[in-house]
């Protein structure tokens, strides 16, 4: 495909000014918690960065992750970065279909060679029924992932489904859905350097920032214990929430329409999972920095954390327990009564025997 060979040329061609580009680099450096001086180095590296071949595999997913990025406020520099990468295969965005589409993937892999391309996965991978729950061009998702990862430089799991299994993985997990990471750990697919960009969907700037980091340095960013970029997943939503002062003062909304809710108090009591959720929503925000769920009046669902769908009700506070029924407690009470009565009966019997012995 003919076109600009470096990002600098590409941006120039798209009419992006030097000032606009520097603003982007500064924002990215800031989002990644880098010092301001880093923006200059980032700009220099990005300007000369070569087009990166990317193969985007969509498996058990809702296309929300792709929508998050492509439907972000348009046109943004983030979306231009997205345009700049050589997206050689993407179900939703590519014009080709059927065998032609699969051929594009195979050609891209061959063209880029070993370690020459990046694989992006959104969606979990069904492994039940021999992978028959989701197939593309006669291949199961698992087969396609294994084949594509063989020569990949790295893999980016975009969205909670790819990163942790997400909603398809939720109990009872009918398709035996798995995350990329768990398949790597089990040896079902080749192990490659992995970046998990979780979220349902992920924040657009977190996706583009991760790509920008890779394009700038040619290596994966510093990751947390869930393999998420620390720059974006280093703080909890709660720590960065503008409602945090209300939490510290003990001012909580008791329901979604009470006075506390109208005053913008903390949503902890109505189930906000902000204290245990690591993401950039509270700082990067959504819809071109307009707001994020808590700002819109709803608690955080914890969508960037593993098992968020099975981690209890979205409307139960974090300090509440996580089981539904009290049958166990009723059974325990019955056992307690029986054991206590048995102990007392045993004592009475021994007491009576002792009295008999002393009288005889």
């Amino acid at each position: 495909m003919a076109g600009p060979s470096t990002l600098g040329d590409f941006l120039l061609q798209r009419g992006i000014s030097r000032r606009g580009f520097m603003k982007f680099c500064t924002a990215m450096a800031s989002a990644m918690a880098m010092p301001p001086s880093f923006a200059r180095d980032m700009a220099a590296n990005l300007e000369t960065a070569k087009r990166q071949s990317v193969i985007w595999l969509s498996f058990q997913e809702c296309t929300g992750c792709t929508e998050s990025l492509t439907r972000s406020h348009s046109p943004t520099l983030e979306s231009l970065i997205f345009d700049f990468i050589s997206l050689d295969y993407h179900h939703t965005l590519q014009a080709a279909s059927g065998h032609a589409a699969e051929k594009a993937r195979e050609e891209a892999m061959e063209r880029a060679g070993e370690g020459g391309y990046l694989v992006v996965v959104d969606g979990s991978i069904p492994t039940g029924a021999g992978g028959a729950y989701s197939t593309i061009a006669g291949m199961t998702n698992l087969q396609m992932l294994a084949e594509t990862l063989e020569n990949a430089a790295a893999v980016v799991s975009v969205g909670t489904c790819a990163a942790f299994g997400g909603i398809p993985y939720a109990d009872p997990n009918p398709t035996d859905a798995r995350s990329v990471e768990s398949l790597m750990a089990n040896g079902h697919v080749p192990s490659k350097p992995l970046i998990n960009v979780s979220g349902c969907p992920p924040v657009p700037v977190v996706i583009s920032g991760t790509f920008a980091h890779y394009l700038t340095f040619g290596q994966i960013p510093e990751l947390d214990h869930y393999n998420r970029p620390k720059a974006f997943f280093g703080d909890t939503i709660h720590d960065r929430c503008y409602r945090r002062p209300f939490y510290d003062q003990g001012k909580m909304a008791k329901s979604f329409d009470d006075e506390g809710a109208r005053k913008g108090w903390c949503l902890y009591e109505v189930g906000c999972k902000g204290p245990t959720t690591y993401n950039a929503c509270a700082t990067a925000k959504w819809n071109n920095g307009t707001s994020f769920p808590i700002e819109s009046g709803h608690g955080c669902l914890g969508c960037s954390e593993p098992n968020f769908w099975d981690a209890g009700s979205f409307y139960k506070p974090l300090s509440a327990g996580m089981w539904g029924e009290a049958e166990g407690l009723a059974a325990a009470a019955a056992v307690g009564v029986a054991a206590g009565a048995g102990a007392a009966w045993g004592h009475r019997r021994r007491h009576a025997q002792a009295q008999e012995e002393s009288q005889s």
Binding site: T236, E269, P317, G321, L329
Partner: protein, 218 residues
């Protein structure tokens, strides 16, 4: 399953089951013990119930003759019991936990009151341990149950402080550790001296009723 999910789910349920079964086992076993009736003429003018209630209340404060000798442990004991009650029943997240379990709820106290009560509780518990270790007779009388009960009581206070202040680890880890420490307390409660949470009423009441029948002062 994450550690927090484990502590909020199966571990919490298991510890509550052990608590309920253990407490009921001990109470039923105690209440069904053979009771020897006193057929003698009552000597005092108090009823058994009156004597029981009087003793339950009277024992909240030591006899004047012993006051000076036990004043320190008494004041410290009150400090940590009241402090702990404020923390457990006045802190809003704890009330939410109880509401989830029982459906009963009440307004919480201001956070600064709870934090202050927590600090007093910690200080009093530490002071009581120092006294136990430094007092020769008390040290000789102490059993492993005393130290274990002290430990499982203070751990939730320490881990709770750490969770609230986000000290030392990620919040979800601190919350999980706090819950684990609470679960340890719930599990140990029926089997050691902490069972006095429930039995103090019965022991004082029984003593008071017996004494009232004999016309003795308690």
């Amino acid at each position: 399953m994450t550690l927090l999910e484990f502590t909020r789910g199966p571990a919490l349920e298991a510890s509550l089951i052990i608590l309920v079964a253990g407490v009921i086992w001990r109470l039923v076993g105690l209440l069904l013990l053979p009771y020897k009736r006193d057929h003698s003429e009552p000597r005092g003018n108090r009823t058994a119930l009156g004597g029981a209630l009087q003793t339950i209340l009277r024992r909240f404060w030591p006899y004047r003759a012993f006051q000076n000798r036990v004043l320190f442990s008494h004041v410290m004991g009150y400090a940590f019991h009241i402090g702990l009650a404020i923390v457990v029943f006045g802190y809003r997240p704890h009330i939410l936990f109880i509401r989830d379990l029982t459906g009963i709820s009440w307004p919480g106290l201001p956070y600064w009151v709870v934090y202050l009560a927590g600090a007093v509780t910690l200080a009093a518990l530490v002071a009581l341990l120092i006294r136990r270790l430094s007092h020769g007779v008390l040290r000789l009388l102490s059993t492993p149950d005393d130290y274990l009960s002290w430990l499982v009581t203070i751990l939730p206070v320490i881990t709770g402080f750490m969770a609230v202040q986000h000290l030392g680890a990620r919040y979800e880890t601190l919350l999980a550790v706090h819950l684990l420490s609470v679960e340890l307390l719930l599990i140990w409660l029926p089997f050691g001296k902490l069972m006095h949470t429930f039995t103090f009423l019965f022991s004082r009441g029984f003593t008071g009723a017996r004494a009232a029948h004999k016309g003795a002062k308690t």
